[in-house]
């Protein structure tokens, strides 16, 4: 492989990771945009999502390396898998908001954030205690189709992953920008009090935000499983922190920023892992996080964030 091929291959890998981080970052950024809360529970909603998706796929008959389904049935099964996972994690997010976070809405300071750490811990340990500490083999139902671009390989799963992420993000973008609910959401992010006075049900909007964010985390969980072919109780923390970095990089509260930030972090991880040492990747990513927060808290991309006092 020439250097160019290696770079191209790592760009392909990076974009795949990035697509996943983008989906995950959207949840952080949307919740922060609406109620200015860093939601640590999001880390493990993602992790729980990957488990739910695994069970859903297994229920649909997709086990281990079996490739029984092909063609449209496979597409149907995967779509059903995505839909059921997103519904389940979306509901999980709503329950968490309703039970643990709504009573905290008007509490000053970091109490709500500490609560989300607690919720995250609970999810993490429930999975650890029930599913065990080992990594779980993930269904791998995709046919082994790949294309060669020079020396680099583009597999079907990457194309699938990109298209799913792209579709989800496009739908989200249209929803937020073009629909009535989306407008209500943007208004709430700008000024909750004013939005309430204009007749917007703020509680509903917050709930909807948690639903969408958590549903996207669920989709990211499924993508994680398909991409790495395994999952474990540990995945939430690392991927979550990287996705959070992505959200910060894009300017937290900014939806387009989160998508861009996710891609950048994915590329850094892939290329950094290739050209520096893998074991230092996290140090690089956290250093970026710290540097951005300390020097330019509005985000590296310089996109405007919702104005907060």
């Amino acid at each position: 492989m020439t250097l160019l091929d290696i770079v191209l291959q790592q760009v392909i890998n990076g974009l795949s990771l990035g697509a996943m981080y983008s989906l995950l970052a959207l949840g952080f950024t949307m919740v922060y945009g609406i109620i200015e809360l860093i939601n640590f529970a999001h880390f493990n909603i993602f992790m729980v999502g990957s488990f739910i998706a695994m069970f859903a796929l297994q229920f649909l008959g997709l086990h281990g390396q079996s490739r029984l389904l092909i063609g449209w049935p496979l597409v149907g099964a995967l779509s059903l898998g995505f839909a059921s996972t997103m519904l389940a994690t979306g509901c999980l997010g709503v329950v968490i908001e309703r039970v643990a976070l709504r009573p905290m809405r008007n509490v000053k300071g970091t109490a709500a954030m500490i609560t989300t750490i607690g919720v995250s811990y609970i999810l993490f340990n429930i999975v650890l205690l029930t599913a065990g500490a080992g990594a779980q083999n993930y269904p791998n139902p995709l046919p082994q189709i790949s294309w060669h671009i020079g020396g680099a390989v583009l597999r079907l799963r990457e194309v699938l992953l990109w298209s799913v992420s792209l579709v989800l993000m496009a739908v989200l973008h249209i929803f937020v920008q073009r629909t009535k609910m989306g407008k209500a959401m943007r208004a709430t992010a700008q000024d909750q009090e004013a939005a309430r006075m204009m007749g917007i049900e703020v509680d509903q909007i917050v709930m909807l935000t948690f639903f969408i964010g958590s549903a996207l985390a669920g989709a990211a969980g499924l993508i994680f499983g398909l991409y790495y072919n395994n999952t474990s109780f540990l995945i939430g923390y690392t991927a979550g922190l990287r996705a959070f970095t992505a959200a910060v990089l894009g300017g937290i509260g900014n939806i387009v920023g989160a998508m861009m930030g996710g891609l950048i972090i994915g590329l850094i991880e892939a290329l950094g892992g290739q050209f520096l040492q893998v074991r230092w990747t996290d140090v690089i990513i956290f250093s970026i996080l710290i540097a951005v927060l300390a020097l330019r808290p509005t985000g590296l991309l310089g996109l405007s964030t919702p104005k907060k006092s």
Partner: protein, 687 residues
């Protein structure tokens, strides 16, 4: 209302007994006959006796060991409590400092690092910190065996330096961002440790760390000496925490926690105090790290991951953020829960399983559920008892009936304050001179080319329609905002662009239009925070309390009471109440008292009478006038024109950020521009 008992006469020496939570009241019932101080002393003596006798009672090495570990975590909790509980800086990477302390000692007290012998090591060998080891067929190498007793403070110091290093980039960040940055550092440290095996032996961990030695006796692996050492350290650091909390430094930390901007405007150097909190907390963790690694003899990067930071956080949340006994209780409870209760419970469940023949029950390992329990504790505490088991803020004594029914007295009028003196400025030097001051927010020019001169010992009223730039002007003068152009001179000295705490030091104090009191501090503490710029006690001084610090504290309290007396019996009976419990008018008064406590030359009052009824308004106007007679120069923003007319020597009018008129109240009222600004253009033309 049949059971109203006659109220005892108010006694200023002994405050009436505080209202307590039902649980505490029930526990205290048997010893109610003892006076409060005696009760405390007896309690303390029992506690110490219990701690000393514990190893003789328990005798089980495993249990003593668990107790020693629990005490080590109590130290961590005390340290994090200073950062999170006192200063309100949420640190999610606290375990990093624990790791730093552990590895610092581990590296200099093991054979991990063995450089070749060189003569530069000679002085250290004389000190007995290193020795020269002969290796067959190779050059001599250095064996490091630094003394534990030297490294205990040494590692604390190094960790404190790292605290400053990690704290520095977070200073300007809001609470939640700060949490993330600290979390980032908390992640980086174990990775660095893991990736530098030459220094740390990487993921395998340090081995063979030397245990402490005292009077020729090595601690080794017996638990009892570690237990006593940890107990001693906990006692010491509890003492340090108490002393800090009840000092100038502790009050400044709590002021930052309650309201950062107001803290700066009261003369607190936020940068320095935040770094001090980080450093102190990190120092506690560094010492614990050294203790812990010496006790275990080994250290691996996994011992210092995020879950440790969360565990310490759970401890202080459970015990009560900001409460010294609370966080110790929280730490001990959780540690003992983990090492005793859950193990015993597991045994019982297994026994039950054998009894009923259930295989599943015999497999249960409850110790593994500890993190699940942590999560549940965090959520439940946050939802139902945010102040923790032992709340930090004391419940306040309610006013007696006599005090409640007392007629308000008008204090302060015609009196004088001992520390407010007339300033002697060279003739012609104004108290405040502002030239060409400009501030833009995006496209809006909030203050435009503003010039204003305030002569010493005058009262100047600043009026203008809402949004005319009055408060922005205050913010520019007091350093909360930096101007885009123009200069501000105080008594002839250029103070433009100085940070707000420096401006308070030079003699400008202010109140806020939207009240910014320190809600969870008492009335007295609020006023004492106002004196921050005029007092000198350092953190070390606060802990050791030499006579100078003691005298300063006494003088501060006397001065605070004197200032509060300006408002007669409005605030004096309530000195130990939380500021959040005051009525609206009393909060305004307290803000003025807090500002006056800083012994300003120039007092900036932003709508001081807002929300007061006409009688209270005129009372306050007189009090402002009397403050002015004592030697203070006053600039006030006020919408109530009768107040402005009564007490101002001069009135300046702002409109759209520009000064449109200046002069005596009468002159200003006749001014056409002013009428237009207030009543609108069309009205004015008709007039």
């Amino acid at each position: 209302m049949a059971d109203v008992t006659p109220a005892p006469a108010p006694d200023l020496e002994a405050a009436p007994p505080a209202r307590r939570a039902p649980l505490t009241a029930a526990l205290l019932a048997p010893v109610r006959w003892m006076p409060e101080t005696a009760r405390k002393r007896v309690g303390l003596a029992l506690l110490i006796a219990g701690a000393v006798l514990f190893p003789f009672i328990v005798r089980n090495a495993g249990d003593i060991d668990a107790a020693a570990n629990a005490l080590a975590f109590a130290i961590l909790a005390l340290g994090l409590n200073i950062v999170v509980g006192f200063a309100g800086l949420l640190d999610l990477g606290y375990a990093a400092f624990f790791a730093i302390g552990a590895y610092i000692y581990g590296m200099v007290a093991s054979t991990q690092i063995t450089p070749n012998w060189a003569d530069v090591w000679q002085p250290l060998q004389w000190l007995g910190l290193v020795s020269r080891a002969h290796v067959e067929g190779a050059p001599d190498v250095v064996h490091l065996h630094f003394s534990f007793w030297l490294m205990l403070p040494g590692a604390a110091l190094v960790a404190a330096l790292f605290g400053i290093l990690f704290g520095a980039p977070t200073l300007r960040l809001r609470g939640d961002y700060l949490a993330i940055v600290t979390l980032g550092f908390g992640e980086i440290i174990p990775i660095v440790v893991r990736n530098t095996p030459d220094w740390t032996n990487g993921p395998m961990g340090l081995n063979g760390v030397i245990s402490p030695q005292l009077f020729g006796l090595r601690f080794g692996v017996t638990s009892t000496p570690y237990y006593y050492l940890a107990a001693l350290l906990v006692a010491l650091l509890m003492f340090v925490s108490y002393r800090l909390k009840e000092s100038r430094i502790g009050r400044a930390w709590m002021a930052i926690r309650e309201d950062e901007i107001a803290a700066g405007a009261m003369g607190i150097n936020r940068t320095r105090l935040k770094l001090m909190a980080f450093a102190t907390g990190a120092g506690f963790a560094g010492a614990t790290g050294t203790f812990y690694v010496a006790k275990l003899g080994t250290a691996t990067p996994d011992m210092f991951q995020f879950p440790v930071s969360v565990m310490v956080l759970v401890m202080i949340v459970l015990g009560g953020m900001g409460s010294v006994p609370g966080v110790v209780l929280g730490a001990l409870t959780l540690q003992l829960l983990q090492s005793w209760f859950l193990q015993d419970l597991t045994q019982w469940v297994h026994a039950l399983g054998r009894l009923v023949g259930s295989g599943a029950l015999q497999q249960v390992e409850l110790v593994q559920t500890i993190e699940l329990i942590f999560g549940i504790i965090l959520v439940l505490m946050m939802l139902y008892r945010r102040e923790g088991l032992i709340p930090a803020s004391r419940t306040t004594a309610s006013l007696t009936l006599t005090e409640q029914a007392a007629m308000p007295t008008r204090g302060g009028i015609g009196a004088s304050l001992s520390k407010i003196q007339d300033v002697q400025l060279p003739a012609g030097t104004p108290m405040l001179e502002v030239r060409g001051l400009t501030k833009r927010f995006g496209g809006i020019t909030a203050v435009k080319e503003l010039g204003l001169t305030i002569l010493p010992r005058t009262v100047v009223g600043l009026i203008g329609p809402n949004g005319s730039g009055k408060t922005t002007f205050f913010n520019l003068v007091t350093g909360l905002d930096s101007p885009d152009g123009g200069r501000v001179f105080l008594m002839g000295e250029d103070v433009t662009g100085l940070p707000s705490h420096a401006i308070v030091e030079r003699g400008i104090a202010r109140t806020f239009q939207t009240l910014r009191l320190f809600a969870n501090l008492t009335v007295l503490e609020n006023v004492l925070v106002g004196m921050h710029a005029r007092t000198r006690a350092t953190a070390v001084g606060a802990v050791l309390r030499p006579p100078s610090v003691r005298a300063e504290e006494t003088a501060s309290r006397e001065w605070a009471m004197e200032v509060l007396a300006i408002f007669g019996n409005r605030l004096l009976p309530r000195v130990n109440h939380l500021a959040s419990s005051l009525s609206y008018a009393n909060r305004r008064r307290l803000e003025i008292a807090r500002a006056v406590a800083s012994r300003p030359r120039l007092l900036l009052l932003d709508e001081p009478t807002a929300g007061m009824n006409p009688a209270e308004t005129m009372e306050l106007a007189e009090q402002i006038r009397s403050l002015n007679r004592m030697g203070l120069t006053v600039l006030l923003i006020e919408h109530k024109l009768n107040v402005v007319n009564t007490i101002s020597d001069k009135v300046a009018v702002l409109d759209y950020g520009e000064k449109i008129a200046e002069g005596t109240a009468e002159e200003v009222h006749r001014n056409e521009d002013v009428i237009r600004a207030y009543l609108g253009r069309t009205t004015a033309t008709r007039v």
